[in-house]
Symmetry: C3
Subunit: 461 residues, 3 copies
């Protein structure tokens, strides 16, 4: 009965029209009461700001959901073809596991009704359930619109891990790690700040859309995984690094553009409200600043690689430069000026280019460059917040964010995520095992684990 | 003159601001009339709910339009490379034919002013034309926003057929079938329920966003086509099935994500209104439930294939599991709880995995697995509606949906679409012919029909 | 502090709810003043039309931003694999250069506070900076929402050039050209009409969403580049044309769909307002008309190629037919009827098919067919505006658009862009050089300039 057009419509009433008619009919002074009542009904029924706020979450949410496709394309493009089908399978299944666990446990861990340990741990886990659909929620937006928006953030954190540890992790242990990450690790970190917990109340820590809470969390988990799992077979010989070029650069470019596109939802909808002029002005400015940071990241990565590689520029560095710029502005996409946004993003782009060889030096094999883009730039973006932050925009009872408070947040997140992730990765390693056999890794995970090839007709291998 | 910024703006007036000023200037009691008039003008001019409703159709509509790209990528990825350019050409042209026919005939068949045969046949076909753009439509939304939203649904039904009968249908007969499907077959089915026709008035049939009306209709037409046209050359030898693996799995994954993304518009905007708190609450809950059903479909398909294939999981089954889960929730994405949404989707995912070998047993060659995902899950989703349906949300004069009424709807749709499709497929077969010559099929339709190759530099063939 | 859910919300206030309560509490006659005040506060605070307008720019803007991905995929698919990674790199970097330059110079050139030379040249360049975020802008929408929307238009113009001159231009000179195009050339042209300059005030020139201002500007710059740079090595031998087929047709199809998708934002949001019934009606009608024009372009290109090539239809012609149809309707997507929109698009589709061999005759090497689709159809779309234009919709002090006025606009744009582009291309040619060495072109720009290959494991070359 969804679309019975022209006969009746589910809920919309044309109150304004009705009102206008009423107003015309009773244009006498003693009808003031009637006109007032009609106006009040029209205004209270229109729910304008409530709808505008909910739209922000819903539209922002689907755009961020689409980032899952962006990660999928980026990663499918940057792995070798023998693992590309497996990588896309991981991306589809991780998004599913993340959604399930965040419903079952995560949401109420991240936004707990009660906390213990000075706001470090929510004590009210359990499945999320929406409220009464017939009423305006007191929060000022549709309850499920917020759940949906928060859920797609969780999936982002999980997608980061998937790229780093590609090509040498079996599917099931990877999904178990994802389940724990999205049910507990990420939600606990998010609760410290967005759930009003320890970092928020004690340190005035500020992370607008998640440079630390989402991107660094994913990045630390990825780093821990890369170290514990080890590098791909053949990646490092003594001091030399064996390049394993991505099999499909156009898909990686597509993934980059999809992520860039999705980031407008990621940062813009993190304003959390759009029903007033001030709020929608802020959302718009966030869009502009977010774009400028990506611009800075791309151009800085381009120039840096041109300098380092004597004129040649590295396409994958440029793609990661865009992502690095975007991550860098995510901790505070509203307060900086356009020019400062370019600079914040540009530093991120340079950090990406400099971090990649550093990881290789430590024989940390990050297949898609997620650690530089998400972890390093996540830290950078978080640490630079106090420079541009203006208290007027986001008041906090614990005071404005300070460099110390930001550092505390970065470190606490790092320590917690590394310890928690290590426990899970080691537990998996010593039970069901994390890596495929050497033969399977050599053959490629597509044939070993999912029984088909990404490009059965093309590969020259 | 579209963008003369800073000098004048087309239609927006800042009524609220003007009002505020007016209100401040005349703050005396005998100015009540003036203040009331100003308020009434502001409220009636803001058209808040009208705009919110129209936005739902427009945003939902472009997201669903993008599903055409999703089907295109899914199908391009799952055909062999020698037919991949042809498949994408079909997807672009079918979307065009669908749009043209739905404008010329289909819309007014689906939403007829008058019907005959107990509401089984609209009797007022003819081109759709918008109303007076300067007025608020009495329907509560911009007329063209509804046309646009309905049009992209038609294209979805046509896209389903394209995938099943891929690799062995010539372009022109396929497009002729598409024209009839989108001008008559789909619109007639849609009229029975969304047009207020027979199924709605006589049986209280309920199909919120089209598990039966869109997906089963496409699925029945695809099934009929697959049987009449026959399997691809070499697909079946006696009792053995020759696997013909898809040529580009990452594209198929991309298509899956695009469809998932588009489904939020497909189901969410089928609420048809967003201007009140109750409506936007419902839209948001539909988003959440739709996602959970996809999650259920993916995870159930994963586990089922792992059990059947002893640990290996099949990537294409997982992609179709997502689609199957989404189709399953489409008949009623609002009433179920989050947990029930997971289960409804999970059953869909299992059905997909079990249906694929069944089709092979009957030598029905469904290239992309569209029949399991859209037809089988469409039936499942429709039949389970009464379990969760709560009368309060969508009242209907013929009473709440019943299992019998749902079954009648499923069967009537199946019988009609199979008969109508058979007539068209046979008519094409015995006139201009449907299949390419054996040589052309062997060579691939890319070279035979469109004179270029999808991947001229790669293929090892 | 971005997402502190459940404790406080940044800006949204639930004024309507508060109001309702107030209204119930004081339902006596002498409380009229209080009720009026509450109503006024609610209405003025809701900012409904302001938010609706800003949403139009923001949602339209991100959709148009995503067109950058569409151009990227279209171009990556239509170049040979040895240049595909380079082409995607160009697309990512040109989008960045465009954003930077439009912020630094372009916006205030396009929408100048003051002009000289009869409105031909803005005299107030300089970086754009947003206004006071806490206030309603007098323009009726969030300042940055407009900047963002205009910026993505600039990038579109630059993307057009990139496709035409693909495979034989070095990265740095290309980006320098892009910088000048997006800082000066495009903004100056845009200022003549959308900035209220010469074409608008003297000729009543009308170009709703940019058939001339965006698409022809890009097309002229591309044509100039193609002529000055010359054809790809080996493309033309005497009178024979060596076809160089695109390496990845499915990606080109994806690009086409993404562009089609983005065009709803491109044309729809060029209505510039959505806060009233009349405005949202117009946006919706633009969606419908835009789709019909694409439909016409596809079907006309299909039929035309079938006639010319004796039954075979050319996939790339069909993709460019869609784009040609879309460009054709862009100059006036609101006034035409649905049927006229089909025809306008269909003529565009025919023009595309006829223009491609014409360019080859003159040995103008347009790799992706951008000149037929954007330049030829841009001229066609602009010239046909007076046929459907109805003065009531977009009043202009210089009178309704005339065929002469449109012609003046087309010619002035062509002359200016050709001269300006020639100067830049020649300056680059005689200084740093534009073309790679013959060896580099032969090897492919992927290896020559960016040090990796698009598909290192596939290519048979």
């Amino acid at each position: 009965m969804g679309q019975l057009i022209g006969r009746w419509i589910r809920g919309a009433t044309l109150a304004p029209l009705a009102l206008l008619t009423a107003g015309m009919a009773f244009a006498q002074e003693d009808d003031v009461a009637a006109r007032l009542a009609a106006l009040e009904e029209a205004v209270s029924g229109s729910a304008s700001a409530y709808v505008d706020n909910s739209y922000l979450f819903l539209i922002g949410g689907i755009i961020v959901m689409f980032m899952a496709a962006g990660f999928c394309m980026l990663e499918a493009g940057l792995v070798r073809s023998k693992n590309a089908a497996m990588q896309t399978t991981k991306n589809v299944t991780l998004f599913s596991v993340a959604g399930l666990m965040f419903w079952l446990v995560g949401y109420n861990m991240a936004y707990p009704a009660e906390t213990a340990l000075m706001g470090l741990l929510g004590t009210t886990p359990g499945p999320w359930s929406g409220g009464d659909l017939s009423l305006e929620s007191e929060d000022g937006y549709a309850p499920a619109s917020d759940w949906f928006f928060q859920m797609v953030f969780v999936a982002t954190a999980a997608s980061i891990v998937s790229g780093t540890v590609a090509e040498r992790v079996k599917l099931w242990p990877f999904l178990i790690f994802t389940a724990v990450l999205t049910a507990f690790i990420y939600p606990i970190v998010a609760s410290w700040e967005w759930g009003g917990g320890y970092l928020d109340s004690a340190w005035g820590f500020s992370d607008f859309a998640g440079s630390t809470l989402v991107h660094s969390t994913g990045g630390w988990a990825a780093l821990t995984g890369a170290i514990i799992i080890g590098a791909r077979k053949g990646k490092y010989f003594g001091k030399s690094v064996n390049p394993m070029p991505g099999s499909n650069i156009p898909l990686a470019a597509l993934g980059t553009f999809i992520l860039w596109f999705g980031w407008f939802g990621f940062n813009g909808a993190s304003q959390l409200a759009a029903g007033t002029a001030a709020d929608i002005n802020a959302v718009a400015q966030i869009f502009a600043n977010t774009n400028m940071a990506a611009v800075g990241g791309v151009l800085a990565a381009m120039v840096t690689t041109a300098i380092i590689y004597k004129g040649k520029i590295d396409a994958t560095m440029i793609f990661n430069g865009a992502i690095g710029g975007l991550v860098s502005i995510t901790a505070e996409p509203l307060a900086p000026s356009m020019g400062m946004s370019v600079l914040i993003g540009a530093v991120g782009g340079v950090l990406v280019v400099l971090s990649v060889p550093l990881l290789d030096k430590f024989k940390i094999d990050d297949v898609v460059g997620a650690i530089p883009a998400h972890l390093v730039c996540g830290i950078w973006g978080t640490m630079i917040v106090p420079l541009s932050y203006t208290g007027a925009i986001t008041p906090n009872e614990a005071g404005d964010p300070s460099y110390l408070g930001q550092l505390i947040g970065v470190l606490l997140t790092g320590v917690f995520v590394v310890i928690a992730s290590s426990i899970i990765w080691f537990a998996l390693k010593f039970t069901i095992g994390v890596r495929p056999s050497e033969e399977d890794e050599e053959m490629g995970l597509d044939r070993a684990e999912i029984g088909l090839e990404a490009y059965p007709e093309f590969s020259n291998r």
